[in-house]
Amino acid sequence: MDFDYSDEQRALREAVRALLGKTYATIDGRRAATAKDPGFDEAVWSRLAEMGVLGLPFPEEAGGMGAGPVEVAVVAEELGRVLAPEPFVEAVVLCGGLLARADADVSAIANGTVLPAYVGGPGVTARRDGDLWVLDGGASPVLNGARADLLVVVADVDGTPALFTTAQGERTAFATYDGGRAARVTFDGTAAGPIGDPAADASGTIAYARACAQVAYAHEALGAMERALEMTRDYLRDRHQFGKPLKAFQNLAFRASDMYVCLELARSMALWASLVLQDGDEAEGVEAASRAKLRAAESGRRIGQEAIQLHGGIGLTMEYGVGHYAMRLTTIEHLLGNRRHHLAGLAAAVSDHRGVDPLR
């Protein structure tokens, strides 16, 4: 077992970091990109496509790079570090992952010409209408739902979930509190194409794709936590009150230490979950993702809250960066299952095993 990145993985990280650094070197980059629709920088998205990042986890024959969860993690962490608003996790990991597993064509996602959005939740049903399949119902929030060229929809077919795509559906766009974009999507007999066999239960496929996205979010959160702690550390070092640097106040320094512990625990768990996904057993991957997501949520909550508190008022301003980090960490905490959701799931299964052994 080892946690070292390969040279290729390091190179990927440097390349992504360099690319994102051009636009998101300071928080002003994020603020500018999120100030106008679609809530991210299309040019950055194109460059990510050119670099191959948008096809990273897809098989090479499907236009991807055939990379695995660890490479996805590397990218997600870099996005998190600079709070880049590009919807990598949602479009590539979640939607792309669902489509690629069903052997659907994902080349247009990989080359950046089609942006997909994920429509989950229990509110959509699918039915046959002659030779066609049509969708009814709706969901909200659909992240990037207004800008999306394609909706990847989980719809109920006779009590079990199945997957469909459609380029239609009514979309009401809105901004999310963290600067992103989402939409309320409604279907009303909207034509849609099935992905895979619509009569088959897609629960497993969906759970696995969500797991991949949960782990990617855990890494995105990790990058954000890391940077939020760095900013807090710098602030404690440089800011003076009562005639001495804040770091001289033991309580504040110790709280930064606790933030560091939170960060490292989250890092260990996120890295491990990527490796479990890479290892291939789906049930294990789903459980590991839940564990990593819970840990990321707990660490992210603590680090985000403490980063603000240790900064004081400035931490709450839009102009200064650290509040954006806290907001993004809060968002991720609540996406694809919040703390209580994952804890309840793990609690329900706690009798099923004697312990968790990560060394295998």
Binding site: A175, A182, Q309, G312, L316, G323, T330, R340
Partner: protein, 383 residues
């Protein structure tokens, strides 16, 4: 010791409850219930409604519109107000500058300012914090130099809430830069915000609001008659102001209302999800403990022990308030992302995240949690 209110206090409470729930305009109370921003007009109208009934500033001297209530009655007044979704009287006027002018102002200042302050003919802003003087307020640098009958003020204040609405601002300014102690050279000065040289710049916060501000003073001439009390004794008046009002400092009324609302929003989940129910139960018990403590402080139960000071209430109350907004955000789940009215979501999910973010400030302003812990360690424990 007794559990129940005295018959007088029970009548007192019933009267207030009747008043708050029937006489304060419905639109105002609904806005509060929905956790949405009140307009300036609503805040003013609400306070004038209270003032018309003589209960806007019970903490003031009776001569200037106050009430000779017991601390427990003041507590009841505040809690009934919160429970009825009535916005508390504008803090800057009712709890901050009013009592200072009433205690330390000249007769002329009292007559000029107090009635107008009570009715919010003047909306006051608070000019205390500066970019390099937050928790360490005594580090403030805004200067006021005497020049004839005026002071000339230069400097910058920050975190000034609602300065957009401000007609006047009460400020702490440095009048003696050479004083032996930093605290000794500070004065308490009232400044007309329409004076030339006063500029207000809103600060946008992560909760989406822009109701706190920076206020810049550039060669602003302020008549010396606007000095409150004695020159260079402003620190004393500021301490009076900050330590003055303990009623409502724990924010229990609002937290309690929110927790009760959250039960409604949780709906069936409250019965189906034992972990959620346990979160509610724990918060409810914590809230009860804080509320009882605030009643103890209000009732001033001496009993020979060091009293839990307002620091305990501020510290525990703000953490609890934050915890409840966090619970609500968790209830909203992914829906909470839709803070935009265009999301078409129910008001409570729409406001969940902005309110959660807004309340992060509760442990920072008005004496941060760190300042409160320092006060408890120093003043109460003698450490």
């Amino acid at each position: 010791m007794k559990l129940r209110l005295s018959p007088q206090d029970a009548v007192f409470r019933a009267g207030l409850r009747e008043f708050f729930t029937t006489q304060v305009p419905q639109d105002i109370r609904e806005t509060v219930a929905a956790r949405e921003e009140l307009t300036k007009e609503q805040m003013v109208r609400s306070m004038r409604t209270l003032d018309a009934a003589g209960i806007a500033v019970p903490n003031w001297p009776v001569e200037w519109g106050g009430k000779d209530w017991t601390p427990l009655q003041r507590h009841i007044w505040h809690e009934e107000m919160s429970a009825a979704c009535v916005p508390p009287p504008v803090t800057f006027n009712a709890s901050m500058v009013g009592p200072v002018i009433a205690a330390f102002g000249s007769r002329e200042q009292k007559e000029r300012f107090l009635p107008a302050t009570r009715r919010v003919d003047i909306w006051w802003s608070q000019g205390f914090s500066e970019p390099d003087a937050g928790s360490d307020l005594a580090a403030l640098r805004t200067s006021a130099v005497r020049d004839g009958d005026d002071y000339v003020v230069n400097g910058q204040k920050i975190w000034t809430s609602y300065a957009q609405y401000g007609d006047w601002i009460f400020t702490l300014v440095r009048t003696d830069p050479d004083a032996p102690r930093r605290q000794a050279g500070i004065s308490f000065l009232l400044v007309d915000m329409t004076s030339p040289g006063v500029t207000v710049r809103p600060i946008r916060l992560i909760d989406g609001g822009d109701l706190v501000n920076e206020v810049f003073f550039e060669d602003v001439r302020v008549p010396a008659g606007n000095l409150v009390g004695e020159e260079n004794r402003g620190w004393d008046y500021a301490k009076f102001l900050l330590g003055n009002e303990r009623v409502g400092i724990a924010g229990v009324g609002g937290t309690k209302r929110l927790l009760a609302q959250a039960k409604t929003w949780a709906g069936e989940r409250l019965r189906e999800d034992p972990l959620l129910a346990a979160e509610f139960a724990r918060l409810e018990n914590d809230l009860l403990a804080v509320e009882l403590t605030s009643i103890r402080v209000a009732a001033d139960s001496a009993d020979g022990k060091a009293q839990p000071a307002s620091s305990v209430l501020k510290l525990a109350g703000s953490e609890l308030e934050q915890a409840v907004t966090e619970l609500v955000l968790g209830l909203a789940g992914e829906q909470g992302l839709g803070s935009d009215p265009a999301a078409g979501a129910p008001a409570w999910t729409r406001t969940a995240a902005p309110n959660y973010l807004h309340l992060r400030a509760a442990s920072i302003y008005g004496g941060s949690s760190e300042v409160q812990r320092q006060i408890i360690a120093g003043t109460i424990l003698g450490l």
